[in-house]
Symmetry: C2
Subunit: 410 residues, 2 copies
């Protein structure tokens, strides 16, 4: 072994969350504390930054514990992100060669990739390629997604904070919806293309005695225009101010997105349909059918960037899983994604494990059918026990002039 | 004077804010502390509750300081609200007779009405009627509106909290908008039909060195489709991730709402055009013209009900102005609306005064043209000095199971 310590690199990919920077902080702190590395690089804009050798020395931006604290509480991706999928190595090796060249040039022996299932595909492909070609660069995936749809882990870093935002905001919207003595329907559109975890988490309000949301629709449940109208008709008999929580990706029986007619048909970089509109669609439907006061609310990007409402549990765990990734690489692991293993609910304890990255790559973990009621318009109490520990604890955002302050790469 | 102490009543009206319950708490506490009254009634759903004798004894719900604290930090209107405008007394006296009967039945000698400019119309009409008919019931208005468009007061209770939400949220959205290395435009739609104060407040981010929002459009400024396209073209040369803040009520040169074509033409109970859609309208426009990544975000009711992000200054002042209303009535005043008078900016100090309710009723205070830049697409630094004191201080929301807990009338 040479006397020169190796460098390591970390990058972030996919959609932002409130906890992805906590994982970055975990990687950084654990790597520094280990004393085993020379430089800790951040690659800008994910794997594309690696290919283009766009690295920053993180010690230039993280100079002390205050900087680290600020990073932990900063939403979105401090290093930027990308939506780039590596081609199959057997079809096109050029990306792989660029990555190897970049890592060699910067003496990088470990690469940590914080991202969702598309990013775990990168971890899997890269590590396979390195192993096949006898290149000793460790590649470890650190999960993150507000969708909570990653396989192999009990839950995903970033999810608890998004759920806490959704729950707190719906509770406040409930107050707002009840001011006038008139019948009303409020439709709240929550992110989730194929997995309804985030929308489903809204059921936790019942742990505080709140009846709302009165209807909850997930992509995993049956949905049709007619069923929705019947459901609302029923709920309106019991509640003056009806609250509906609906996943953006709710589908009709034929497998099409329910709000398709309202959509532009644009595709994102991964070929996913760009969704918006189920809320507006249902708002118009209610207005037409029931002629009552109706409003739709899209929680939009706030559900993934409202760091001031982050779950303290989520941030702590996200930092830990980042640190655990460094430990795993040091112990010789590669090609794996770090996971949470729930040990018990009362008291809530988790341990951190790892799975082969292929278990997370390109798969989606759906909300379990057995936690849906038989009408598939509500969530069963069993799910509350799963969700509740993930949203515990409040954070204190650093404020300046009455507004939040965030970390920035120098 | 009879030995039986009189009762008093308080009610809330118009759109909810995060601070309207703090004013209710101020009325309640000051009235209790004065020792001058027997019962302190809350009338449910504003003046309609008065007419229908729907009163609650507030001491049943506010039993201790903890209850009072919870009330202060609960968004929306604890007593419910209404959108009801009294007819002119000369045309139709029946509402007035109902109100007098109700007040007499419950021995109510003072009535405090927390609301916006439509509610101050009620204060004005009622007090005139009582004076004309020699009825000794005091009527005092307590202002509230997130729009900040009430005349006669430096600023309105509820506005500072809404501004703090808008600012904090835009700061977080800025983080979210910068993750991908691609050119993008984010359009943030802020409430404000005719007054752009809330949208304008977004300029305060510059006090923290933030360049966003890069374009700010108010109903008070000139706007056209062509001008908007030119503005965006210019800003895109300097900023990859362009942030636009726009009031829902932005109008084109012909005086029509800019997004009219997108709207349903529905009217609310006051005959106001129901607005939604300027954000979506501009999103589609940008997408068409610039073919770049674009997203619109409607801050929706969250800007008026996100109590967890309330301004501590706003809540303190709102409680004080409620208390001052009671003092004013005790000192014999009637037919007035309480006001904030700004004494100085550094240190920021206000006093509480009062104006004749007619000064606030039915009028709208517009954002001053002299604080708009010459292109009318941005706010001048002078405005920051006005806004900044109003958003200072953070609150601590009571949480249970990781979610906010609110006050409810028993």
């Amino acid at each position: 072994m040479s006397d020169v310590k190796m460098n390591i690199a970390v990058a972030q990919s996919g959609g932002p969350t409130c906890a992805i920077n906590a994982s970055l902080a975990g990687v950084y702190k654990c790597a520094v504390d280990s004393g085993k590395f020379n430089k800790i690089y951040g690659a800008l804009n994910g794997i594309t930054g690696v290919m283009e050798c766009r690295y920053v020395d993180l010690s230039d931006s993280i100079k002390n514990d205050d900087d680290l604290e600020l990073l932990i509480h900063t939403p979105s991706t401090a290093l930027g992100s990308c939506r780039y999928k590596l081609p199959d190595a057997h079809e096109n090796r050029s990306d792989y060669e660029k990555i190897i060249e970049s890592f060699r040039k910067f003496n990088i022996g470990m690469f940590f990739y914080i991202g969702g299932n598309d990013s775990m595909d990168t971890v899997m492909k890269l590590s396979h390629y390195f192993t096949e070609h006898n290149i000793d660069i460790k590649v470890i995936g650190i999960p993150k997604t507000i969708d909570n749809d990653l396989c192999g882990t009990d839950h995903s870093p970033g999810f608890g904070s998004a759920a806490k935002y959704v729950l707190s905001t719906i509770q406040e919207i409930v107050r707002d919806s009840r001011v006038y003595g008139v019948d009303s329907v409020t439709v709240i559109e929550v992110m989730g293309r194929h997995a309804g975890w985030l929308t489903a988490s809204s059921c936790c309000l019942r742990a505080n005695g709140e009846s709302a949301p009165h209807l909850i629709y997930l992509p995993e449940g049956r949905f049709s225009r007619e069923k929705f109208i019947e459901d609302v008709k029923k709920v309106r008999k019991e509640h003056k101010a009806v609250i509906v929580a609906v996943s953006e990706g709710v589908c009709t029986d034929d497998g099409n997105f329910a709000a398709e007619a309202y959509q532009s048909g644009k595709l994102d970089a991964f070929g996913h349909k760009y969704l918006s509109g189920i809320g507006k669609y249902l708002e118009n439907l209610v207005s037409e059918v029931f002629k009552c006061k109706v409003r739709s609310i899209e929680l939009n990007v706030m559900q993934r960037c409202s760091a001031h409402l982050a779950s303290a549990t989520d941030l702590e765990e996200s930092e830990k899983i980042g640190a655990a990734a460094v430990d795993a690489a040091i112990s010789g692991k590669t090609g794996c994604v770090m996971t949470y293993v729930r040990e018990s609910n009362e008291p809530y304890t988790i341990s951190i494990g790892s799975e082969d990255a292929s278990s997370a790559a390109n798969h989606e973990k759906h909300f379990p059918k057995e936690w849906l009621n038989s009408d598939e318009n509500d969530i069963l109490p069993e799910a509350i026990e799963y969700f509740l520990p993930l949203i515990q604890g409040e954070v204190h955002t650093k404020m300046k002039n009455g507004m939040p302050v965030h970390f920035a790469i120098k």
